[in-house]
């Protein structure tokens, strides 16, 4: 078994990201065009200079034509990928591997989702024809089962745990309020968060990620060519992916206090990148805070906190914008919004801004560390996919 990774072989040389909001006046094609054009401009190349494309969209359309038509690409290879909420990350992963293989010099990954055309609340997927025995629960309900299980296992008082998860929402709204591209740009008080109407279990409205329309894109090339295009490339240190086999749903040993797919993915990512002490070596992390309790558990699965202690680290402000390890400095899914296929690349866009010192005075993190982690999950406790990238501004 080998997961060698492609540390320092590939660089991100340009990115683009639309605002993530309810774009009532923009369709999927508009979002694609806007993100792609911003990305081309940031590199200073035209679309013909890109040799191959990967499109990540969960439900925006099928096949590479969904990208080739709005961009009017001329005889380019375009692959549409889907991997639940890690779809955008998957597009980048495939583009990076394709360039690392030597097949192409330059590739673009673009993630996009138009969520707000359905007329329904939340995110909705249409399953293939089936026997009708599958769960029809919302993601909120599945994740809501984590809170009581976590509190019970680690003996955390329900009120303290409620305070900790509310603090996650408070922090991510604080960060999003300072980000011009975010969906929700208001700080929200702890009281408002804690008193919001319940959606599922103990999860209230403010415990759930925003649902937005948006697109984000990245262009990659070989690391040795990166400085032809930019003085400040981001080097890919690790790309790790784990697709769960659903065993958590059927295995009585699974206790809903951890996401084993993510823990395994983290170990692989840190090995690829040569990271031995993530909480001391990583400058910032963009993680998949689909629900507040999810971010809490991720702090442990990503080895930022000891088991059973993330709630205290959160309350101590360790993951705040100017804490020891800022988590979701751009506002996260919670406040930046979650257009499924775009979110993974949006996280990398924040790493791009922060590690290059371009996040703006309002929200630029202060650190001498050079590594960022982005993490995407898709699915539910017991049955999920996990993606982790580690990006760095320096080689080596």
């Amino acid at each position: 078994m080998a997961s060698h990774g492609i540390k320092d072989q590939i660089a991100i040389i340009g990115m683009g990201c639309t605002n993530f909001v309810e774009h009532w006046n923009l369709g999927l094609d508009d979002l694609i065009v806007n993100a792609a054009n911003e990305c081309y401009s940031s590199v200073g190349i035209g679309k013909d200079a890109v040799d191959a494309y990967w499109l990540g969209t969960a439900q925006g359309g099928m096949s590479g034509i969904t990208l080739a038509r709005p961009l009017q690409l001329q005889n380019k290879p375009v692959t549409r990928v889907e991997n639940y909420c890690a779809t955008g990350s998957e597009a980048l992963r495939q583009a990076a591997y394709a360039v690392a293989s030597g097949a192409y010099d330059i590739a673009m990954a673009l993630g996009v989702e138009k969520t707000k055309d359905s007329g329904f609340q939340g995110l909705n997927a249409t399953p293939p024809p089936n026997d009708g025995t599958g769960r029809t629960l919302t993601a909120a309900a599945m994740f809501s089962m984590v809170t009581p299980a976590y509190g019970k296992k680690f003996g955390v008082d329900p009120n303290e745990l409620r305070e900790a998860v509310a603090r996650v929402a408070w922090k991510n709204h604080y960060n999003g309020a300072r980000n011009s591209r975010a969906q929700f740009r208001k700080e929200v008080s702890m009281e408002t968060i804690k008193n919001s109407p319940k959606m599922a279990g103990d999860l209230g409205l403010f415990d759930c990620a925003g649902v937005a329309d948006g697109a984000a894109a990245a262009i990659v090339c070989r690391a040795q060519d990166a400085h032809k295009y930019t003085d400040k490339p981001l080097f890919i240190k690790a790309l790790s992916f784990v697709a769960g086999n659903g065993s958590g749903l059927t295995d009585p040993a699974y206790d809903y206090t951890t996401f084993p797919e993510i823990a395994a993915c983290a170990v692989d990512a840190y090995e690829q990148a040569g990271i031995t002490n993530p909480s001391k070596q990583i400058a910032l992390a963009e993680v998949h805070d689909c629900f507040t309790i999810t971010e809490l558990v991720l702090m442990e699965d990503l080895l930022f906190s000891e088991r059973g202690t993330a709630w205290r680290d959160i309350l101590d402000g360790r993951f705040d914008l100017h804490g020891q390890l800022p988590v979701n400095p751009d506002g996260g899914l919670k406040s930046f919004g979650h257009p499924v296929g775009a979110s993974g690349l949006r996280m990398m866009f924040e790493a791009w801004l922060q590690l290059r010192g371009e996040a703006g005075a309002d929200r630029q993190i202060r650190t001498d560390r050079t590594l960022a982690l982005t993490h995407n999950l898709g699915g539910y406790p017991g049955e999920m996919v996990s993606f982790i990238s580690i990006l760095g501004s320096q080689l080596g």
């Binding site: 009708g132 629960l137 089962m145 319940k198 279990g201 749903l249 059927t250 295995d251 017991g382």
Partner: protein
């Protein structure tokens, strides 16, 4: 000798307090309660539940299934085949629906005792009417099932002595197919018409059996109204008349003869003669003699237990469950139509709740898998029938967002005794009743209905003891 080997009666969990009706509608209702089938039940699922209770007390495998109802979920297509699939009967069994009149239920029992082989006769009904009608107030929902065979097939709890009928055409009560409203003529007309029919069939039954009314320990009378039942019963000359449950359960239409026969057997002693009289478009009488086996096959879920376990339902919710009152659903997509081909391939799982058990590790997979959990072996599995296995709630949640005809959804992760875990929706439960560690059993339900195709599968429900 032929007779009843085992039986089961099923009463849905919810009870409507009939005083609520007039408060809401301004008319109708009355005293007492009636049973109410849940939004996720139909006559087919209730017949399955009654059949499961009956089959748990016998070792025989029915070769013939008859299912009688006036409120079938399908027409054209057979509903009994769904009951057959959920009960996991042998593929060689004949399965037929009896309908579309109330009398078909009593007729099914008589046909079965006059037939051969092992029969299971199920009947179920969901009855209502327009808001504020006496039909709505006086009816109730229920199901019953009987395993009928020869004494050479299995020990008999009640031997069949004889059956007689009297038939007459008269317009008593009627309903157009598909209509929710049963219409009635003058009840007095019904009473005076039924009384002589009952007498005629009753006399012939006693005569054929060579017995007197005083030889009969107990009689149950099933009829469209409590008043007709008591008027007829009073003239039969039997010392004890079974309470027909009209004040707590209601009149059950096609299910009523079965429910009363089940209660009759529940309340009888061995070696007694008991009689069932059913008045629907005529009169039908059945006589049985109970045996020493009667106490041994008393169901694990009795009518008395189910009467003691019911819980109230508001009238508004009752109306919405019967599609008389449209309520605002959550703003989420409605369920898709189920795939006929996928359902057929997965019949054992979907209808029988059969998982797979790894023959090497013993691990149970729900739904069934071909490859073992460690990924090492393919097709190293055997069937793991889980429908009758109890479980414990490991964790749970309340989903206020997901689509449901009756939100919110109460959902739990269930660990089954002896292995196996399944995250599953709960039914017949109020959101504040659920807790970690609570015991649950599985029950067959209709999850949704799209394009006139019901989506049947299993839910969990709390194990309730009176």
């Amino acid at each position: 000798m032929r007779g009843i080997s085992s039986w089961g009666a099923y009463l849905p969990y919810r009870r409507l307090d009939k005083t609520q009706i007039a408060l809401f509608v301004g008319q109708g209702g009355g005293k007492g309660t009636r049973t109410v089938a849940s939004f996720d039940e139909d006559t087919t699922t209730m017949a399955v539940e009654a059949g499961r209770i009956a089959l748990r007390r016998t070792s025989v495998m029915p070769t013939q299934l008859m299912f009688a109802t006036v409120s079938p979920t399908y027409t054209d297509k057979t509903n009994a085949t769904i009951v057959h699939a959920a009960l996991r009967l042998d593929d060689s069994a004949l399965c037929i629906d009896l309908g579309s009149s109330v009398r078909s239920a009593m007729g099914g029992l008589i046909l079965a005792v006059r037939s051969s082989g092992v029969n299971i006769v199920a009947s179920a009904d969901i009855r209502s009417g327009l808001a504020g009608s006496s039909e709505e107030a006086n009816s109730g929902d229920a199901a019953a099932a009987f395993v009928i065979c020869d004494e050479t097939d299995a020990p008999l709890a009640a031997e069949f002595i004889g059956a007689t009928s009297a038939t007459e055409e008269f317009i008593d009560r009627w309903r157009a197919p598909g209509s929710q409203r049963t219409k009635t003529w003058d009840e007095k007309f019904s009473e005076v018409t039924y009384a002589p029919l009952a007498q005629s069939a009753w006399k012939k039954a006693l005569q054929d059996a060579g017995i007197q009314a005083s030889d009969i320990a107990m009689v149950a009378v099933s009829s469209p109204s409590a008043r007709i039942s008591s008027a007829v019963a009073a003239k039969l000359g039997v010392a004890r008349v079974l309470d027909n449950l009209s004040a707590v359960v209601g009149i059950n239409g096609a299910a009523q003869p079965g429910v009363l026969l089940a209660l009759l057997l529940e309340q009888s002693e061995p070696d007694q003669i008991v009689a069932l009289v059913s008045l629907t478009d005529g009169a039908d009488v059945m006589l049985f003699r109970t045996t020493k086996h009667l106490p041994l096959v008393q169901p694990d879920t009795t009518v008395a237990q189910q009467l003691a376990c019911g819980a109230p339902i508001s009238y508004g919710r009752f109306l919405s469950w019967r599609t008389m009152l449209a309520i605002e659903p959550p703003r989420r997509p409605e369920p898709q139509r189920v795939s006929a081909t996928a359902s057929a391939r997965n019949e054992n799982w979907k209808y029988g709740f059969v998982g797979s058990r790894d023959t090497t590790t013993g691990a149970v997979h729900l739904p069934p898998l071909r490859v073992s959990a460690d990924g090492q072996r393919t097709d190293n599995m055997k069937d793991a029938p889980m429908a009758d296995v109890l479980g414990t709630i490991a964790t749970f949640t309340i989903d206020r967002l997901a689509y449901s005809p009756s939100p919110p959804i109460v959902f739990a992760v269930v660990d089954f005794d002896g292995g196996g875990r399944f995250p599953v929706e709960l039914c017949d439960i109020d959101a504040d009743e659920i807790s970690i560690g609570a015991r649950v059993r599985m029950t067959f339900r209709r999850l949704s209905i799209t394009d006139d195709i019901p989506n049947y599968f299993w839910k969990a429900t709390l194990v309730r003891t009176p």
